[in-house]
Point group: C2
Chain length 341, copies 2
DNA sequence: GATGCATTGGAAAGCGCTTGCTGGGTATGC
DNA sequence: GCATACCCAGCAAGCGCTTTCCAATGCATC
């Protein structure tokens, strides 16, 4: 059935079908040139009989184009990124593209490494997900590698990082956080705390600032901010710090859901009753966390949809100027922030 | 700086350095043949100056080997799979390999499609994660495609599906669930319910059966099982069904954590007090769910570690017979299952 | 000073595929 | 009946790289 010693090649198929490789190629790929139906059928039959799988590398070389897109995320185990990855993967499927997963684990040099690897693969596109840090050197290095990638004919799309001169899906972090703050103020909260994430992470910063502005606009005192890692543990320790500070606070905004969960745990460790003693809100609306108790007030982001949109930018004809599409968050009030007083 | 019109090629570098492509290739890759240090330096400098990135496709063709491994999962948005993916990704990095992500969304035909795509890419290996269904036709088709893949020189490793004649990481689902059942019985629970997942999903079935055996061994009545999807919603509706049945039960085992979360939500919908009115346990120990209330008793699986082990099997020299490594779960008792009576 | 060997650069042959071009065969027009 | 046009199979040239083989050079040895 299958040729011994390595893979079945197109010339095996051609021989089996009694035609030239050129004809076999045209028959299988249906090029602009037509092949007589009977030959075409013979080729198809031969391919099936030999269980032929075209060598994608060779095709890529000959055609000068691959079917690969790279997905570069901070941490695939983080539900935020994995939801986006699911959207990208889904959309890639529909477009007949393959997804290369790259997990930078937050290490900037990894991002560069992957970008370079992707260029080496002549990937059709790279999708960069995750807030960029406000690190000048790294930004410059990424910009330069991105330029090289684009020069080599690849598209680059950024999700949630607006610093690069490429097609970008901007998440309206500040606006979403602001809306949340106003809503919470309206519900009677006035003394806010913010678990603000790392100060050099743009997403965290935007959410923090947006919330702060919203709170102040609504006539509240500026929230008290505590910085910490953008993770569950970061939320936990930031919350602990906030509680230790002895500040009077009736509502805490964690700049993402995962941090909010850490914060909730920290509160419980101290014996606080939630949501009675303290209201807590997050951001993202992570699916896996929709059932926690108390159910978490948050700003919902259409994460899966994001991936889809990114794919659309990737497959769209390249424009002259970088496109920018905006994605809004929706405030979702749940039990973790009951009306105050 | 960069050549106009497409990418920089090795011959560009060679020309720039004033050597032949052969020498340039040898200088950059350090082959068995040595290149005089000064030439080597000239080549390296030229490559840097032109920002050369070797065409991986061309390398793959010439060398007859790629650096790609495929990771085939059911749903990357599911924290179980994304944790494994993180482990794989990490290990792939260390081994200098690239990961192709394939999300089958549970559709068997997608699994085949990906396997074939991976063969077309001449991927070095495929890692199949996730319990196989007990569907004969599909199993046969996968077996055949797996054979083709291996014939083409690729390695195949399965995680948590023991049906394929390939290197496999077996998760001791039955043993883990059995240990959990015994432990719960020891704690005074005796009337068990099981939210059993789809009946044709091996993992679900093994956990269900293991739990059942454990319970019976401990002298309890056979648990009452309700089947449902392997998801949060599946757990929710199975739990609702179980509650509606009016059976007297004091402890429910959901065959995975995500279902357990759905079950908890269903209980709350009915106004049950957890864990007072009912004990609930899960399986997997999903990191994102470690902070839910009540904290969930479960069987911890070293998910990230699994990915790493899979990678080790991939990079290990191929043995004659399929290797089988076993991974145990650890029973973790938390608040959701207090001692009974 | 001639011969042998080690060392190393370069020419060239592929890897498997696509595609422009060539040319034989057939259909059509006068 | 012959010329023109058209159709389509196949030859061959690449795509960018690795690697084998050959040739040239330098050095040691006799």
């Amino acid at each position: 059935m299958v040729q011994s010693g390595g893979s079945v090649t197109l010339s095996d198929v051609a021989r089996e079908a009694g035609v030239s490789v050129a004809t076999a190629s045209r028959a299988l790929n249906g090029s602009s040139r037509t092949v007589r139906p009977d030959l075409s059928a013979r080729v198809a039959a031969a391919a099936r009989r030999l269980d032929y799988a075209p060598n994608a590398q060779a095709q890529a070389m000959a055609r000068g184009a691959t079917t690969m897109v790279g997905l570069i995320v901070h941490d695939i185990a983080d539900p935020y990124f994995s939801a986006i990855a699911a959207g990208v993967s889904r959309a890639a499927d529909d477009a007949g593209l393959l997804v290369m997963l790259s997990n930078t684990l937050g290490r900037p040099e990894q991002e560069l490494r992957y970008l370079k690897a992707l260029r080496a693969q002549r990937g059709r596109a790279a999708i960069l997900v995750g807030s960029q840090r406000t690190d000048r050197d790294h930004s410059a290095a990424v910009s330069s590698e991105v330029a090289a990638f684009e020069h080599a004919g690849g598209r680059v799309v950024a999700i949630s990082q607006a610093r690069l001169p490429v097609d970008t899906i901007v998440i309206e972090n500040a606006a979403g956080a602001g809306a949340l703050a106003r809503k919470l103020a309206e519900m009677g909260h006035s003394r806010f705390g913010v678990l603000a994430g790392p100060s050099d992470l743009l997403t965290a910063r935007d959410r923090h600032r947006g919330f702060q502005r919203g709170a102040v606009d609504a006539g509240c005192a500026p929230p008290i901010a505590v910085h910490g890692a953008f993770t569950r543990d970061g939320g936990h320790s930031a919350m602990a710090q906030l509680l230790d500070s002895g500040c009077q606070i009736d509502c805490v905004f964690a700049v993402n859901d995962v941090m909010a969960v850490g914060a909730i745990a920290a509160c419980r460790d101290r014996g606080l009753q939630l949501p009675k003693d303290l209201a807590i809100a997050g951001f993202d609306d992570i699916a896996t966390l929709r059932d926690i108790t108390p159910s978490l007030t948050t700003v919902r982001l259409p994460l899966t949809e994001l991936g889809k949109q990114a794919m659309e930018l990737v497959t769209a004809p390249p424009g002259t100027a970088p496109k920018r599409s905006r994605v809004k968050g929706t405030v979702v009030i749940r039990d973790s922030t009951p009306a105050h007083r």
